[in-house]
């Protein structure tokens, strides 16, 4: 049985159609990424799954229950990191985690969870005095303390510095190893690329693509070859010339990179030229994402 089932989900706010017929399902143990630009309907979908919003139409199942009516039993099995949600500022990290621990039937040990999210040094500090990134880690701790089967992570690493983000990724990978199902939304394509088994790209309230990050990247078969344009010579066009993105850079895309690269380097070697900053790259998930969501 799927951990999450969404079929033909629709939700409008007045005349704004936030979600227009979205369908997807998440398997147990899967890390599923919901991607899309601001206003695409990601948070509305997640909040319907979390039980905060009522849907207008469609079928939704979370761990076999309808979140609109399931109530407390479902919330015992689910952990959530929401966007912009405060914690009691005058309690310490440890006090807050301990308080939340009491809400769940089979919670994890308080100190383990605090250590897991990297707040051990801050355990006795009041929430008020934490930095933004530390508060976000506390959010994660509160989502984990009940040892949930399913985690909703709505932009969990927003405001993290690069090393904190890597740590958060490690935690998510650890959760995945423990067999937890995770639904995460993110703006960071490297995060989706690194963490998710499958992603669902939504735009303007509709699903534009569902698949593994690799399969999405494979949609654009072209390989990009770029280098600093050598002075005074005309370079053979071994692929379709595209904007280099930077002054003096020449870029070409091709579907036959081996051949193109061979021709290019043979040409350069024959003239004794060194192609400065030569780079061969696959389209990133971000390139595909930008194309799919029409932001390019």
């Amino acid at each position: 049985m799927a951990a999450i089932v969404v079929e033909e989900l629709r939700k409008s706010y007045g005349s704004l159609h936030a979600v227009r017929g979205v369908s997807f399902s998440v398997e147990p143990g899967e890390v599923f990424g919901l991607l899309g630009p601001n206003g695409a309907g990601k948070t509305t979908i997640v909040e319907i799954l979390e039980g905060y919003r009522r849907r207008d139409h469609g079928r939704v199942e979370v761990l076999g229950a309808d979140p609109a009516t399931a109530g407390r039993d479902l919330r015992r099995r689910v952990g959530m990191v929401l966007q912009e949600c405060a914690v009691e500022p005058y309690l310490t990290v440890r006090e807050v985690v301990e308080l939340h621990r009491g809400y769940y039937p089979k919670p994890l040990p308080t100190d383990d969870v605090i250590e897991l999210v990297g707040l051990k040094e801050k355990a006795r500090v009041r929430v008020k005095r934490l930095s933004g990134g530390q508060q976000r880690r506390l959010d994660l701790a509160l989502a984990l303390i009940g040892d949930p089967e399913l985690l909703f992570l709505d932009e969990p690493t927003t405001g993290f510095d690069p090393s904190a983000r890597r740590n958060a990724w490690e935690i998510v990978r650890g959760m995945r190893k423990l067999g937890k199902t995770i639904l995460l939304t993110t703006h960071y394509m490297d995060e989706a690329q690194n963490l998710t088994d499958r992603v669902c790209v939504v735009s303007a309230g509709e699903v534009v693509r569902i698949g593994t990050p690799a399969s999405l990247r494979a949609e654009r078969a072209e390989t990009r070859i770029q280098f600093v344009r050598p002075d005074g010579v005309s370079v053979p066009e071994v692929g379709e010339v595209v904007p280099g993105g930077e002054d003096g850079l020449m870029a070409m895309i091709t579907e036959t990179p081996t051949k193109a690269l061979h021709e290019l380097t043979a040409w350069a070697v024959a003239r004794g030229l060194e192609l400065e900053r030569l780079e061969v790259s696959q389209p990133s998930l971000e390139d595909v994402y930008l194309e799919l969501t029409g932001d390019e």
């Binding site: 407390r72 959530m80 914690v87 005058y90 308080l99 009491g102 009940g146």
Partner: protein, 266 residues
């Protein structure tokens, strides 16, 4: 863990947060105590009628006269209950609604009733403390008598505290955002405190008729009775308590119908 145990833990956490938040603690305790020190000192040696009418020596209804602070101490104790249960609670709940704390709790298995019990229980503890503190300050500085009827005083404080908590919850849906909360709270309580004769009696029939609509007036009356300022054999005044109870029921109905756990999206 049982729901009762969860509720008690919530009370403890709320109390802890309340005392660590100096602004909240000062707002709840500062005003009544400060006014007790100012008015209590100014009018210390004066006598009033039991309803707080100043300068009517020999003309009091029923003839009874008492030192001003016998009247003023229970009145300020009542105000303390209103600040901790109504003002502080309302401002706190609106703040937490706007910063998403209530929304977060809705996503946990914490029952709404346990959360609300925590907030109410903590406010009632603070209310009892502010009443005790007012009585002690009044007794030590101004020789005001201890409450003549301790049990009725305690029950009155708890009942009124609960009613003002519920009224506080009931008005939160009509407060648009956290910035507006202190203004709304003060505008809805301070004018009524004045016309209800918390500081002294204006002896203005129109004021009094308006004041009698609201629970604040009846709470003051019941405190004067329980403290023994108004002569009474038992310390109970059923009518005062009944009016407050009616307000509590109305407040509860409004809360159940209109309470919001999330701020409106802009």
């Amino acid at each position: 863990m049982s729901d009762l145990a969860i509720g008690l833990r919530q009370v403890r956490a709320e109390q802890r947060a309340f005392w660590r938040n100096r602004a909240a603690a000062l707002f709840g305790f500062g005003f009544p105590i400060m006014f007790l020190l100012i008015f209590g000192t100014i009018f210390n040696k004066q006598s009033t009628c039991v309803d707080g009418t100043i300068g009517a020596s020999g003309q009091c209804v029923g003839g009874a006269e008492v030192p001003y602070n016998n009247f003023f101490v229970p009145a300020m104790a009542a105000w303390g209950v209103i600040t901790t249960c109504f003002s502080n609670l309302t401002i706190g709940v609106v703040n937490r609604r706007d910063n998403g704390l209530l929304k977060r709790l809705r996503g946990t298995p914490l029952p709404s009733a346990a959360f609300v019990s925590g907030v109410l229980g903590s406010a009632l503890i603070s209310a009892v403390i502010v009443v005790a503190l007012t009585a002690v300050v009044g007794h030590l500085l101004y020789q005001a008598p201890w409450p003549a009827h301790p049990l009725p005083a305690l029950v009155t404080v708890l009942l009124a505290g609960l009613v003002f908590c519920v009224i506080g919850l009931a008005i939160t849906p009509f407060i648009p955002n956290a910035d507006a909360a202190p203004a709304v709270v003060n505008f809805t309580s301070l004018p009524i405190l004045f016309i209800s004769g918390f500081f002294f009696n204006f002896n203005n029939a129109v004021f009094e008729d308006i004041a009698k609509v609201f629970p604040i007036y009846w709470f003051k009356e019941s405190m004067l009775t329980a403290f023994g300022t108004e002569p009474s054999s038992s310390g109970w005044n059923g009518q005062d308590l009944l009016v407050m109870l009616v307000w509590g029921v109305v407040g509860l109905a409004v809360t159940l119908r209109f309470f919001r756990w999330e701020s409106r999206r802009v």
